[in-house]
Point group: C2
């Protein structure tokens, strides 16, 4: 059990939504690339701050989502930031491998160019390698 | 009236939430600094893509929020990206002045260090200059 009092200052600054969640942006240390956006609840913040390994809350699975638990693509927390309103978090992370379940470094691989959405980032790791032959969305959910 | 058909490919990729909104991260072109996170609806996306000036949806005011309309701190859209699930947007922007209503460049100016939240970015522009002597939160709302 994590001692919440040690992290009271951080938790007090967060304004959770009606579902007890707050959006968290993951940005790669060094390159500054935005890797993904996911959600955190109180417990996932506590676990992340106490272990240094990023843990989100999966809305679709309704449980803690320890990033990389299935895929091996962990995120190590380098810095935890809170915005002015306390309703968004920014996590500066060291990303093992790729952040996106499609095998791309970043989830933001589609850009609006010349009147259409273009794919601007290639797959680096085959999703079947990340998740086994069943593939798909297992272990990764922005939901 | 903006011709939505010209932007159908972008709109079709977005998965709006039950309130018809999607979170949008603003990142500074060049430096890669994360400036803020706010919300967009269909109309604000259309206006942003068609004008090249970033327009959010203010949840607290219940209306379009043309960033910089009051403060002068406009955001010019450089690139519009959609994530793998379509439920988060990334806007690469050229920011006039500061993004945060506190007069700081970024809204993410508090970082968890040594067991407490520290302010890691100074005020660049007095909010009374941005919003007049009434000051405060007018014209800026993440809500």
């Amino acid at each position: 059990m994590t001692d919440a009092t040690a992290f009271a200052d951080a938790l007090d600054a967060v304004r959770f939504n009606a579902d007890g969640l707050v959006p968290a942006i993951a940005q790669a240390e060094g390159s500054g690339e935005i890797l993904m956006m996911a959600w955190m609840n109180r417990d996932s913040i506590l676990e992340t701050l106490s272990t240094g390994r990023v843990c989100y809350w999966s809305r679709s699975r309704g449980g803690l989502w320890r990033k990389g638990e299935t895929s091996g693509q962990m995120q190590r927390l380098k810095e935890f930031r809170v915005d002015c309103d306390g309703d968004t978090l920014l996590l500066i992370v060291e990303q093992d491998g790729v952040a996106c379940h499609t095998g791309r470094r970043s989830c933001f691989y589609r850009a609006w160019r010349d009147g259409k959405l273009e794919i601007i980032q290639e797959v680096e790791t085959d999703p079947s390698v990340l998740y086994g032959q069943s593939g798909g969305h297992h272990g990764h959910s922005h939901g």
